[in-house]
Symmetry: C2
Subunit: 338 residues, 2 copies
DNA sequence: CCGCGAATTTACAGCGCTGTAAATTTGAGT
DNA sequence: ACTCAAATTTACAGCGCTGTAAATTCGCGG
């Protein structure tokens, strides 16, 4: 029962351990007869390579960490799925790390507590500023995801939030909406994500010749449909009367749908609603949600490629890449009629 | 730049490597003065333990694998979150493994491809039968999750699907519903999950004195809201006229809500709907979903405890545990009026 | 049958850390 | 001061695998 080691196989086959290793790795310069003999020994003994030994010897684990706030947010779960798939294609597995959106947790991830357990880290920061990130001594290659501005020295993959937000607003304006609300942004310290989407929101309004009315900006916590519903509901009850609501993410939009429905406000007839992320529910709820969709496949691919280049030795300046997004038109803010 | 090793610290502090190791681990029998000196050396050199070395030396990685079909299914994402949290409390990290619901992938996981990379595995099988699972030679402790019957030799944690399903049906019956449909079960090869919920469905009908009408069983693929909507829609269009729909999971229920809404059928007035899992959206959609909720915390706790006991040497028969569930009453099938 | 470059195979030294068991130091009690 | 158990510290042998560089074997022309 004691685990079969490489050396056991070697002895059994009458070759050196290195030869067995070569066979295991499919190294070309192994004579066919030797390969067969070794393979037989492997089968007979039921040998399986021990990854711990391999990891130590090679200094690699072929694991990457993906760190983001919360797996329960559908966008992140879907992102994790896509990245895991792309990583598998490249021979890596993914270790998920939830920061809970807490600064210390993000810091802990940066501090490379997991040094030696992963070959690289993909981090979607929420709290950490680019300067703080830049200062951390890194032992492991890192690629940043998401909207936060990234330090020049680090690689970063994102979509153009500002442009996408402006695009959403312009679409709403093209539908004839004039009082476009934004939901929700924490008032005291809007996340960088909210900040960028707000900037785009404003740009979109201006580009459409609409006034910016701060009373249409709904304060509230993010990434929780119920608090979004409550926040928006409160605003509506206080008299806010939008004809469209630009929600910062799908969960907020779900909350908005609920708040509106509870008040008998029809979507999209009375109020159009847009989401952001195109998570699976967006297309299922009724009305289905028009929303911004990042090209997650491309995001995953680029992020992994950059990270793997780093792992393989690239040591230049940070690459900052922008991947595509699209506006998916659905019932909650349909295409403009012609 | 070359990584600082334990031995570097040892030399710097003028002690043996083992003493440094002891300090790192907070071993008690280290004199205060020595500890301080070593700590200083650690700080000065910026030493961080290399987990690869540790893993090899101890034969442990403090990582567990959690294998299930798909991270994009909200229930699994939420389960992963809860288990990751509970695992962290116990000093373990979680490696997520998506099987995509494919038999080979499940087999690959069982074959301990990841031998040596995790100390234990939590597996929620979809395809593998208990006999097949039992036969696999295991190198790593394993605990099964979910409904599939488990071999006697393995630990297993689940909720009582049959009882829960019966409970749902009885609740619907208590609401006065008489034509309770089941959505959706693949006709050819219903998953074990569907099978058990169907059994409970039948029991519930019988317990309520309602006839079992197979024309009320909607065939269709599982775990995809859109195909559920399509399947249910087709059934409705063909004349099926239920006054309640028991959906095998929340996604199916979301699809049902959509199919019903598209046909102007009101929920719960005309048709009551129930989900299963109580994923986050269940409480947000309109109408919010009455559904079965497993006590995930308890599930996570028990599963991890069993697994860790195995890791620490327990080698007895399989423990089969049933954790609690509850029926969460919401708009789609509200509490019975008194 | 020998010489040689190419094809195979091997010896060996770690990768960085920990467990064991033994060595050394300490300090309380004579 | 001296003894002895308890408290500290250490030497050393791996954990299982791989990279390097050197050794061996092979195949073929001469």
């Amino acid at each position: 029962m004691p685990n079969v080691r490489l050396s056991d196989v070697a002895r059994h086959a009458g070759v050196s351990t290195k030869t067995v290793s070569n066979v295991v790795h499919g190294f070309v310069h192994v004579r066919e007869s030797t390969r067969a003999r070794v393979q037989q020994a492997i089968d007979e003994l039921g040998y399986r390579p021990n990854l711990r030994g391999r990891n130590l010897a090679t200094g690699r684990t072929n694991m990457l960490a993906l760190a983001f706030p919360d797996l329960r947010i559908p966008y992140f779960a879907e992102l994790a799925h896509v990245i895991a798939e792309a990583a598998a294609e490249r021979g890596y597995r993914l270790l998920l790390e939830e920061s809970g959106g807490a600064p210390e947790a993000e810091r802990a991830i940066l501090s490379a507590e997991e040094a030696g357990i992963v070959d690289g880290v993909l981090l979607q920061p929420v709290w950490l500023t680019s300067t703080e990130i830049a200062q951390h001594r890194r032992e492991v290659p890192l690629v940043l995801l998401g909207e936060n501005t990234a330090p020049l020295t680090l690689d970063h993959v994102r979509i153009d939030n500002i442009a996408a937000a402006a695009q959403v607003v312009q679409h709403l304006a093209a539908l004839g909406r004039q009082r476009i609300a934004f939901a929700c942004a924490k008032q005291s310290a809007p996340s960088e994500t909210s900040r960028q989407r707000l900037i785009g929101y404003q740009q979109g309004l201006e580009a459409s010749g609409l006034p910016v009315d701060t009373s249409l900006i709904v304060p509230g916590q993010v990434a929780d449909a119920h608090s979004a519903a409550a926040a928006l509901g409160a605003a509506l009850d206080e008299g806010m009367a939008p004809d469209a609501i630009f929600c910062r993410d799908d969960l907020t939009a779900l909350g908005a749908l609920r708040a509106l429905a509870e008040r008998g406000i029809r979507v999209p007839d009375d109020v159009a609603v847009t989401g952001w992320d195109d998570s699976a529910v967006a297309s299922v709820v009724r009305p289905s949600l028009t929303c911004v969709r990042a090209d997650e496949e491309q995001l995953a691919r680029r992020a992994l490629d950059l990270l793997i280049e780093r792992i393989e030795g690239y040591d230049g300046l940070g690459r900052h890449e922008v991947v595509e997004h699209s506006l998916v038109l659905r019932e909650s803010a349909p295409a403009v009629a012609h």
